[in-house]
């Protein structure tokens, strides 16, 4: 392995494995939400607005998206540890692009989110979601989570690099968590009681992400949501990554 890019990615993945806390807490939270919400309000799944596939099929995208709340802060934590120890400066002295160290950490997070998404979808199947979209649906959903999660991870890393404060690593994840409650997460848009929530959910990018995942995994809703969701997730991934790459200068200068 002469390619320094692969070497750097390898280090980022090793660190992810040696510090699995963000990934595990994301998985634990997702599993908890799926089980508890299904137990609490799963009885409404018989309503025709839920598409007849059962409440777990409707709820499952929430489990995937809520992974991002915790799982996407790993890169920010790893970078802030390197910055605090001074090791980031040593890495920055190597004859490779400095943004490579940030991008590798984000990529490691994205790989972690991909694997966690598959685990959550597997759990959903065990809890009764039909996964009628097959392998394509499962991989498409994991790809959406990975793209969007990469964006959340990159934005978290950029926040830490620009502020110099590791305690801000979770702010982007917290914002995602709040958006989850302003989207058709637990009931479809037409069953939302308040008009304002329907308006907000129409502007909420997570709404499109979850509706697309629902279509991909269980065939619920409309196919048109899928390209819109990929556009949103792709924009989040690219935008966040670009922001993180240019934030490296803040750490050094």
């Amino acid at each position: 392995m002469r390619n320094p890019g692969l070497l750097i990615i390898g280090r980022a993945l090793k660190r992810l494995v040696s510090n699995p806390a963000p990934l595990l807490s994301g998985l634990g939270m997702s599993a908890f939400f799926l089980v508890v919400y299904d137990a609490a309000i799963g009885g409404i799944g018989f309503l025709p607005e839920f598409g007849g596939a059962g409440y777990m099929a409707f709820l499952l995208p929430m489990g995937v998206v809520s992974l991002l709340f915790a799982s996407s802060s790993g890169s920010a934590q790893a970078l802030s540890a390197d910055i605090a120890s001074g090791y980031f400066q040593r890495l920055a002295l190597a004859p490779v692009p400095r943004s490579a160290f940030v991008l590798a950490a984000i990529l490691a997070d994205a790989i972690g989110v991909f694997a966690s998404s598959l685990a959550v979808l597997g759990l959903g199947a065990l809890l009764g979601a039909p996964l009628s979209g097959g392998l394509t649906g499962v991989l498409g959903t994991a790809a959406l989570a990975t793209l969007f999660g990469g964006g959340v991870s990159a934005a978290s890393a950029a926040t830490v690099m620009r502020s110099g404060k590791v305690e801000l690593a979770g702010t982007i994840g917290s914002a995602v968590f709040m958006l989850l409650f302003l989207a058709p997460t637990f009931v479809p848009r037409e069953l939302m009681g308040a008009r304002w929530l329907q308006v907000v959910s129409a502007w909420n990018p997570l709404s499109y992400l979850m509706e697309a995942m629902r279509f991909l995994v269980s065939g619920l809703g409309e196919a048109a949501s899928v390209p819109a969701a990929f556009a949103i997730a792709g924009a989040a991934g690219l935008g966040g990554t670009a922001l993180a790459a240019v934030s490296v200068r803040k750490v050094l200068n």
């Binding site: 280090r11 001074g86 890495l91 002295l93 190597a94 490779v96």
Partner: protein, 260 residues
């Protein structure tokens, strides 16, 4: 100028919400020289080192290393230089040998050559007993040795050392300087170091510059500086103190204020 490995012209840097660190530094350093950069705290030594090793940017002015301008060739420059800044820069969770191997591979060595080079440096810096320990478990002296060893993995042509012996015991310090002498004499490495220990500059520097208020206040050889400012046969420390006092007095301070 031919023969100079470091050239700086008019380097200036002011920190946001901070003081002016450099006010237009002109400096030439010959290749294969042991060069001491002296100056009081806040004189701009660390800022100059950070700019020359591409970690910080100057507001104005320019510099080159081995003819490569900092502005355009920073990646090429980084493969020519080794850097050990004032604070140790180690991965706390990384083991001594692994960090040396990773560093070598980051600079393009294959696994076998990186391992060989790591073993060589472990031996040269007396790190054998802690080769498999994590950096967070090392003593302060061993951390500093590893810190310097990491800067040497890729056989740099210029070695920047910012107060390299702070925290080292006398034995480690002697071994460290012996290694720097060997690198300079046998491998032709230019050793550019800052220090507050004037006896180190005296014994281990060929040439020196004194920074004061962000400008080069003196540039010459170590013996010439000592002779000029402390008289014939005088040492560097006495010369440096006389020099600093004369600069303060020339700037308008009273003798009592200087000695206070």
């Amino acid at each position: 100028m031919p023969g100079n490995i470091i050239e700086a012209r008019g380097l200036a840097r002011t920190y946001r919400k901070g003081p002016r660190a450099l006010a237009g530094v002109d400096l030439s350093v010959p290749a294969a020289c042991r060069f001491a950069l002296l100056g009081a705290n806040g004189a701009g030594k660390s800022t100059l080192v950070r700019i020359l090793c591409t970690l910080s940017r100057a507001d104005s002015g320019g510099a080159s290393i081995a003819g490569l301008p900092l502005s355009g060739g920073s990646k090429a420059i980084r493969s020519l230089i080794g850097v050990a800044l004032q604070d140790t820069q180690l991965d706390p969770a990384g083991r001594t040998r692994d960090q040396l191997v990773f560093q070598g591979r980051l600079y393009g060595l294959d696994r076998k050559r990186a391992l060989g080079r790591a073993e060589e440096l472990v031996g040269r810096f007396g790190l054998e007993p802690v080769a498999d320990r994590k950096a967070r478990e090392l003593s302060g002296g061993n951390k500093r040795r590893l810190h310097v060893a990491l800067a040497l993995v890729h056989r740099p042509r210029v070695l920047f050392l910012d107060e390299p012996t702070v925290g080292m015991d006398p034995e480690s310090r002697a071994a460290f300087w012996a290694e720097m002498r060997r690198l300079n004499a046998e491998e032709g490495v230019c050793v550019f170091f800052t220090t507050q220990y004037l006896e180190e500059a005296d014994r281990h520097g060929d040439e020196l510059a004194v920074l004061d208020a962000g400008l080069v206040a003196y540039r010459g050889t170590v013996p010439a500086f000592a002779a000029e400012h402390s008289g014939p046969g005088g040492d560097l420390e006495a010369g440096y103190l006389n020099f600093v006092e004369s600069r303060r007095l020339a700037a308008g301070a009273t003798k009592e204020a200087v000695h206070a």
